[in-house]
């Protein structure tokens, strides 16, 4: 009873208009209130729903032009490359991860370094897709992050010393970890990343205080889940949508992490593409690849799934974040829904309780693989001509031009949702790819059937576009074009603003209603990370990490011309209003 009273008091305190930082250990209640509390940023997504919306309005459309740097912090070292990290902030400290599995604690007022943790990476480790890290999670006195050698490390927030360390999986089998962990009800929840062949995507939940495994849930049908060391039911139905034993190595990597909504008590995770790449050899839907999967964190069981790209043949990972919000239905009643801007170019709105498809519309101008998503059946209407050819039938396999490219209409860069405007802000990219079977291909020791890709821009003047969409009508309200592909997430605030970064190095502030640019600052290297905001000593601050890299320079094809002049870096920039 006493506990209930206390939590009610805490809830009441959070409801207060201007709440500064709460000191002491980070609790479940604090994490659940993260989206409302303004004095801290306790979770990836600025709240576990991932809306990236702040109720702060001290910086607003009227004064954002006076935003100036408060301080900057350089990661230093010889190591740079992609910096995709979202900082988390608690008790006057900023915790920010950097490339090559590094973490820094910085004094939020002064930018002074408090401690640095350099994870020792083993010899011979070869992560596939740059050396990024997307951020840490906070719980109790711990700051927890995943490393390139697939370890989960919990450090003491005050000292940077290791409290516990757990192996997520074998780095020698190609596993890695780059996403920010999610903390729900005392559990730290992680997916897996890396290793195209032979891996199976899953979600693991560990006791956040000790790192001890509580449950694991594979996201490919046929695989057994576990809870407290005991069998907890097979995912789906074995062989229902995969031929032979292909489900055993079905891919579906969960490399971008998960979101959580306390109202539905569901964890939402996006799943990657199925393996092998040639879709003709695995007829069927290949569940639950390229899907949103909703899991009850108390039971470790799947409650619903929705598949965005059944029998994927284009490498359209479905890993993108499912961001829940309240959408008013025709009857005026609000439905708890979730929005997801998929790699495949469609924006999906699903009922967050049941997974039922409520709306789906393209958020990029050109989508070739499907003409639409049928709302009644929830399935795509494929353009059969646009599926890469079956190499068994035709030795060369025809070249098809597909849009979006496999880097997606949206990739790792996060969307934001404003309850004020009712709009989603989507950092989108307009590009396509030539894709063909490559019969003359080799891998370790043998010839194999490879695929050739070449990514091509669709327009002369831009690839990236920050777009505002009404999720109910599917209407594009505005857009701001960008020459290079956008790779950094968006944030929106009660001040009527949308913040986002560009590879060209700018952090920008736009009017959330019109898209009009109100402010921009050159950070000195490309921004491929999402900004955050918080309040301390009565002032509102904005922070963003700058440091060009990620998948675009590695895979760019013809896109490389638009980005190969960009310089690497590694810095945390913090801004506030000039006095």
């Amino acid at each position: 009873m006493q506990r209930k009273t206390l939590s009610m008091l805490v809830a009441a305190a959070f409801a207060g208009a201007s709440l500064t930082a709460v000191a002491g250990p980070v609790t479940d209640d604090m994490i659940l209130n993260d989206a409302k509390s303004t004095g801290d940023v306790l979770s990836f997504g600025m709240g576990t729903q991932g809306q990236r919306y702040s109720t702060l309005s001290k910086i607003n459309t009227g004064n954002v032009s006076k935003l100036v740097p408060a301080w900057a912090f350089q990661f230093g070292g010889e190591k740079q490359r992609g910096q995709e990290s979202q900082p988390v902030i608690h008790d006057g400290k900023i915790f920010v991860t950097a490339s090559y599995s590094r973490m820094y604690a910085v004094d939020a007022k002064t930018g002074r370094e408090l401690w640095q943790y350099d994870h020792r990476l083993p010899e011979g480790i070869m992560p596939c897709c740059d050396v990024v890290n997307r951020g840490a999670a906070l719980y109790d006195n711990l700051v927890i992050f995943g490393t390139l050698d697939a370890q989960l490390v919990a450090l003491d927030q005050n000292t940077g010393k290791v409290v516990w360390k757990e192996k997520l999986d074998e780095f020698s089998a190609g596993y890695s970890y780059t996403a920010a962990p999610l903390v729900v009800k005392g559990l730290v929840i992680t997916g897996v990343s890396g290793g195209e062949f032979g891996i199976v995507g899953r979600l693991d939940a560990r006791d956040a205080k000790t790192g001890k495994i509580v449950w694991t849930r594979p996201v490919v049908e046929g695989h057994m889940g576990y809870l407290n060391g005991k069998e907890n039911g097979i995912t789906g139905e074995t062989n229902a949508s995969w031929p032979g034993d292909t489900w055993k190595t079905g891919g579906s990597s969960t490399w971008l992490g998960a979101t959580y909504d306390a109202k539905t008590n569901l964890v939402y995770v996006g799943t990657g593409n199925p393996a092998p790449w040639n879709s003709h050899t695995r007829p069927g839907d290949n569940l639950y690849s390229c899907s949103t999967v909703a899991i009850n964190p108390d039971t470790g069981k799947i409650v619903w799934h929705y598949q965005n790209t059944p029998n994927d043949g284009w490498d359209y990972d479905g890993v993108n974040e499912f961001v829940t919000f309240d959408m008013k239905g025709a009857d005026g009643k609000a439905v708890r829904a979730g929005g997801k801007a998929d790699r495949n170019g469609f924006f999906y709105v699903n009922d967050a309780e049941t997974g039922k498809l409520l709306n789906a519309f393209p958020f990029v101008d050109k989508v070739t693989w499907a003409s639409k998503i049928d709302l009644a059946s929830g399935r795509p209407v494929y353009n059969d001509d646009n599926r890469p050819g079956n190499p068994g039938a035709d030795k060369q396999g025809k070249t098809v031009f597909s849009a979006p490219s496999f880097l997606g209409g949206k990739n790792q860069q996060q969307i934001a949702y404003s309850p004020d405007t009712g709009l989603f802000y989507v950092p989108a990219n307009e590009w396509g790819m030539d894709i063909w079977n490559e019969p003359i291909s080799y891998k370790k020791g043998a010839a194999f059937l490879g695929a050739g890709f070449n990514i091509k821009p669709l327009n002369e003047d831009y690839i990236g576009a920050l777009r505002a969409f009404d999720p109910k009508s599917g209407k594009k309200v505005w857009e701001v074009k960008n020459n290079a592909p956008l790779w950094g997430g968006a944030m929106t605030t009660k001040g009527g603003l949308v913040f986002y970064g560009t590879p060209e190095g700018h952090l920008k502030a736009l009017d959330a209603k019109s898209g009009k640019e109100l402010w921009a600052f050159q950070t000195g290297s490309g921004v491929v990370a999402p900004p955050v905001t918080w309040e301390q000593d009565g002032e509102q601050y904005i922070a963003v990490v700058s440091g060009w890299g990620g998948a675009v320079p590695l895979w760019g094809g013809d896109v490389a011309k638009r980005v190969n002049f960009l310089n690497q870096g590694g810095a945390l920039w913090v801004f506030k209003l000039a006095k």
Binding site: C128, E196, G198, P243, A447, F448
Partner: protein, 288 residues
């Protein structure tokens, strides 16, 4: 304590100086293209029996030793983690290096000598094919006494493949996928051969030398044979050496030394030592 400057000591010093001078004059032109003087750094795949295994060595490890010996250099092995494609391995180990900061090698073994493929990776020169490799089937002869085609695998026999490899793509696509329920996927050929020995599958499809080498000396009751195949994947290829394209002297020296190893029979002896028949490279190369 000061050592007396004895005569033998003086002599030794003089001799050493003379030898150094001689070595300098005798230094072949390719030595200047090595990453470190006197050392040949050779990349071989990690965890790749019977060719290269950190613990047990293998065919490629022996070839690397023989090659370094012929060139009068000290061997330094670079253990390569395979990436998705050979293009990636060539970038990571021969011409650029991986962004984790590994040390690249002077050359890499087991790289396909194929002009069409070489066009895609112009940063390296693919040369000196040292054997011919093709897809074959290893089988348990008690279960399948005779194998003329793939018919047994449409009915009651399971066949193992390495996931994502050429045989995987070949068999999965065959006859609109009618064999798919009889194809068993393994992470490595070594695991597939283990399953064959345990009776979990009746056969394994893969590169001939790998199948033979993994079966090893005790091959009673097993046979490795070819079957007729046409499909989307190359079933014949020729592994050789990759050297960075801007090292003409090293390329010439490697080409000569490797040809000598093949001509002298040393190459065949290495294969046989690892229980694989030696199939010499064909002069006409890989047919496309």
């Amino acid at each position: 304590m000061i050592l007396p400057c004895s005569v033998p000591r003086l002599l030794a010093t003089a001799l050493a100086a003379a030898l150094t001078l001689a070595a300098l004059f005798a230094t072949p032109a390719y030595a200047l293209e090595l990453r470190k003087p006197g050392v040949l750094r050779v990349a071989v795949y990690n965890d790749f029996p019977p060719f290269s295994d950190r613990e047990s060595g293998g065919i490629d490890v022996d070839i690397a030793k023989a090659l370094a010996g012929k060139l009068g250099l000290k061997l330094d092995l670079a253990w390569a983690e395979a990436d998705e494609k050979v293009e990636d391995d060539l970038r990571n180990y021969v011409w650029k290096g991986h962004y984790m900061g590994n040390e690249i090698a002077d050359l890499m073994l087991h790289m396909p000598v194929d002009p069409v493929f070489n066009e895609r990776v112009k940063q390296v020169k693919l040369l000196a094919p040292y054997f011919a490799e093709n897809l074959m089937v290893a089988r348990d002869v008690k279960r399948i006494p005779k194998l003329e085609n793939l018919e047994p695998f449409f009915q009651n026999h399971d066949i193992g493949v390495e996931v994502g490899g050429g045989s995987d793509a070949f068999l999965m696509a065959l006859y609109a996928g009618r064999m798919q329920n009889h194809i068993k996927h393994f992470k490595t050929h070594a695991q597939a051969i283990e399953a064959l020995r345990k009776g979990e599958v009746s056969a394994v499809m893969g590169p001939r030398t790998e199948l033979e080498g993994l079966l090893g000396g005790d091959r009673e009751g097993y046979a490795v044979s070819a079957i007729e195949m046409t499909g989307p994947v190359l079933t014949f290829w020729q592994p050789g050496v990759a050297v960075k394209a801007d090292k003409p002297q090293l390329i010439a020296a490697v080409e000569k030394a490797m040809a000598e190893l093949v001509a002298s029979g040393e190459m065949a002896a290495i294969f046989e030592r690892h229980h694989a028949r030696y199939n010499p490279p064909r002069a006409e190369g890989v047919p496309h």
